[in-house]
């Protein structure tokens, strides 16, 4: 079986304030593909994400004090097949942000480490039609540094630790077509602010600790893969934050805002001829609808290398 990464949701969706969806959408956490035992997949991905329009609550607008927000993310990933049906995944992103206008300083730094365990719980061969899989993933994210969460949208992350519980159903047809559906519930820890109080969701709170609403998301993709490792797919994802306030009129975003986003896009993975353990990735995604996020367009490129590829089934 081939392995791939699906970047249509983008590692860098934080640029659209969607800090959480980023790691969830990353390499192989929400796809239906498993590494075989002892396989190691490593990758380096770079994404470039920009927006100039954003949703202030439900109101779509631009803002001269930021112009265009650009977020670049470089992520190193590793994926290891502990068993054929049990993989572990790790990701380390470094993020740079900047605004094209205004006087706000860009920020850069390591964002959140993501670790995930992926279990192919139920694999059901359907004779000549293909294979149906049900996969469960537990993923945890934790900020690697004490980065600034109080300068959104230029902050590089939301500073919350989180655990998500994901279920994925993957249908692999015999000629190479596939269809994947995935959904997750994410719980987030309180965020520690530097400031002693804050105003959000119609409430003034005299505390430096912010309750973070949980997140529900679902995603789907359809594509085709060849035995040499070539793969292409189209994808969509919907993230819903289950609470939190809107960005107020002419206010800055706040960590616990209700951030929703509908994104769609596509990706291609192309194995280098004669060097098929090495593959290049290209993905494009766009935020078509949202709340308290930027209308972001994300381009991602990446290189990934598989060790022990000959052991693949």
């Amino acid at each position: 079986m081939l392995m791939h990464s699906r970047f249509s949701r983008g590692l860098c969706t934080f640029a659209s304030f969607v800090g959480l969806a980023a790691p969830l959408g990353a390499q192989t956490i929400d796809d239906g593909i498993m590494l075989s035992q002892k396989q190691v997949l490593t990758g380096n991905f770079y994404s470039y994400d920009t927006w100039d329009e954003y949703w202030e609550g439900a109101l779509k607008r631009t803002n001269g004090n930021i112009g265009t927000i650009t977020t670049e993310v470089n992520t190193i990933t590793a994926n290891y097949g502990v068993f054929d049906r049990f993989n572990v995944i790790g990701m380390v992103p470094y993020v740079w942000t900047r605004a094209s206008q205004g006087v706000l300083h860009g920020i850069d730094g390591f964002q959140d480490l993501t670790l995930a365990a992926k279990w192919n719980a139920l694999e059901k061969p359907m004779t000549s039609y293909g294979t149906l899989r049900t996969i469960f993933v537990v993923a945890a994210g934790i900020p690697m540094t004490d980065y600034n969460t109080e300068l959104l949208p230029l902050s590089i992350g939301l500073g919350t630790a989180r655990v998500s519980w994901r279920g994925t159903v993957h249908y692999q047809a015999t000629p190479g077509w596939f269809l994947t559906g995935s959904t997750a519930y994410t719980m987030r820890s309180k965020v520690q602010l530097d400031r002693p109080y804050f105003y959000t969701n119609d409430e003034f709170v005299m505390s430096d600790r912010v309750d973070m609403p949980n997140i529900f998301d679902y995603a789907g993709s359809a594509g085709f893969m060849k035995s040499n490792g070539f793969m292409t797919s189209v994808t969509f994802s919907q993230m819903r934050t289950l609470g939190g306030g809107d960005i107020r009129r002419q206010d800055m975003p706040f960590v616990s805002n209700r951030m929703n986003a509908f994104r769609a896009g596509g990706m291609v993975m192309y194995p280098i001829p004669k060097l098929e353990s090495l593959a290049v990735n290209f993905a494009l995604a766009h935020t078509f609808d949202g709340r308290n996020v930027g209308e972001a367009t994300t381009i991602t490129t990446g290189l990934q290398y598989t060790f022990n590829r000959s052991f693949t089934r």
Partner: protein, 504 residues
């Protein structure tokens, strides 16, 4: 050593009991507060409060019965309200007030033609919301509410000890006392005075919040009644007194110069031309689109403890010339902090940022004062005095600082160096001197006087608030140092008043 301790304790207790007027003042009812110096009122009797009926009369007995039957069917919600207001009306209203400022502290968004709408006091429910509770607006609002509360409570204290009507639970032992007990006479009710004066002031300053303010004020009065602290006549007399005191303050506020503090394009154009004529780079708005300067004539708004001549006399000398070596060094220092600052410096910048959706720096200092007031177990009138002294100083600091800012019209660091970006929001008014520093210098001066044991901590906080603006990349070091000293001098005016107002 150990054996000496109990002895020492007894000696201390004995000493305390011999000097109750000084050592125990904080926890006392401040029976003499009716004669403390007024600020806007001419004296405690400016507003008449008629003598109450006798506690043996039939009418009064009916009032007591009303409390008894209300207490008999008290709801969990009402108990919650009693617990809430038990912390003290002055403290609770201060918390509500800083929350209101945070809510209304948002700049108007630009119009499609790149102009900016002006919040309209006569149409407060429309967009943009009224008010834009920026630091000067907030400083003035805090001062009007707290000074009005203070004058109203002094008047209330005067009548309380003139008429000496006891609290309902003292008259009738079948009435429970559900709030911390004291010997304070009940007529007119201090809770009702506070509810009346505060609600009227808040309706003036935050008119769109009228519904919740009215409900909160009514809840405070009901809690006082349910707690066995006031009868309906105690409440009615207090409410009327509070509202009447507010009328005097509303009149002052209408004529204090705030209405014209926004200036006009001609006025701020002349300010820029003046700076240019002196050979200086004039301030310009770094907002996109450029935003009219924040309240350029706030320096002409009436102060509490300072005359217009005092404001001018205390104005610091000019900042370093925009073409000077010192200015270049100052700019380079700001650049260094924003590009290579530490996490600790960022935390300090964020802690004191007090930008949009916060209570502003004057609110931050109220927030700092709250636990001190709580811990000192002050009477309501003394708590009100503390916040009044603090907020008069903060308002006067706003007036003095704004007068200075627009007198010199000095540009911001990111104007002097276009590559210089700030790590907190950049306020939309001239740089010299720092508002944070002026506010903090004034606040620390007053709080150090009222709570001498906290003086070192207040001064540390003031210095930190001040330097936070350099860490954030929005002020030069000169702005901070000069602002802090200016604020200290301004705070001194409130302290001078406090020394002679009869309370200490």
């Amino acid at each position: 050593m150990r054996s000496l301790r109990p002895t020492l304790c007894w000696l201390l207790l004995a000493a305390l009991s011999l000097t109750p007027t000084t050592s125990l003042k904080a926890a006392s009812t401040d029976a003499g507060a009716g004669n403390w110096r007024m600020i806007v009122l001419t004296g405690p009797t400016q507003i008449a409060v008629a003598a109450p009926g006798s506690t043996t009369g039939l009418d009064y007995q009916a009032e007591l019965n009303a409390i008894k039957s209300a207490q008999a069917r008290i709801t969990p919600e009402q108990r919650k309200a009693i617990d809430y207001w038990s912390r003290g009306g002055v403290l609770r209203w201060n918390e509500i007030l800083i929350g209101l400022v945070a809510r209304y502290n948002l700049q108007p968004p630009p119009n499609v033609d790149n102009s900016y709408p002006v919040p309209d006091a006569n149409n407060p429910f429309a967009e943009p919301q009224f008010p834009f509770a920026n630091p000067p607006y907030a400083a003035r609002a805090y001062s009007y509410v707290t000074v009005a509360q203070y004058d109203a409570l002094k008047a209330a204290w005067y009548y309380k000890y003139l008429y000496n009507r006891p609290a309902p639970w003292r008259v009738d032992s079948s009435i429970q006392s559900l709030m911390p007990a004291s010997d304070l006479p009940a007529y007119p009710s201090e809770d009702a005075v506070l509810s009346g004066v505060t609600a009227e002031m808040l309706k003036l300053l935050f008119p769109a919040a009228v519904d919740e303010i009215t409900l909160k004020a009514a809840e405070q009065r009901q809690a006082a009644m349910l707690a066995g602290r006031a009868t309906s006549t105690d409440l009615a007399a207090g409410l009327a007194l509070g509202q009447a005191v507010a009328t005097a303050f509303v009149a002052r506020a209408g004529a204090d110069g705030m209405r014209t503090a926004g200036g006009s394009p001609a006025i701020w154009g002349a300010m820029a031309a003046g700076a240019a004529a002196r050979g200086e780079i004039p301030w310009k708005s770094m907002d996109v689109p450029a935003r009219p300067p924040m309240l350029p004539l706030f320096g002409s708004v009436r102060a509490w403890m300072m005359t217009p001549a005092d404001i001018v006399r205390e104005r610091p000398g000019p900042p370093p010339s925009t073409s000077s070596e010192l200015m270049a060094r100052d700019v380079a220092e700001v650049r260094r902090y924003v590009d290579t600052g530490t996490r600790e410096e960022l935390a300090i910048a964020n802690f004191w940022a007090d930008g949009p959706s916060t209570p502003t720096p004057p609110g931050h200092w109220n927030f700092i004062a709250q636990p001190y007031v709580r811990k000192a177990e002050m009477s309501e009138v003394r708590a009100a005095r503390t916040f009044a002294l603090l907020n008069m100083a903060l308002h006067d600091a706003a007036v003095g600082c704004w007068e200075t800012k627009y007198f010199y019209f000095n540009p911001r660091p990111s104007h002097m160096d276009p590559e210089l970006k700030s790590i907190i929001g950049l306020p939309n008014f001239p740089s010299y001197t720092s508002g944070h520093s002026t506010f903090s210098g004034a606040a620390a001066e007053v709080l150090s006087y009222v709570f001498p044991s906290g003086a070192a901590e207040f001064q540390r906080q003031a210095s930190e608030a001040s330097i936070s603006r350099l860490y954030g990349g929005i002020h030069y070091r000169t702005d901070l140092e000069v602002g802090l000293a200016h604020g200290k001098r301004i705070g001194g005016y409130s302290v001078t008043f406090a020394r002679t107002d009869g309370a200490d």
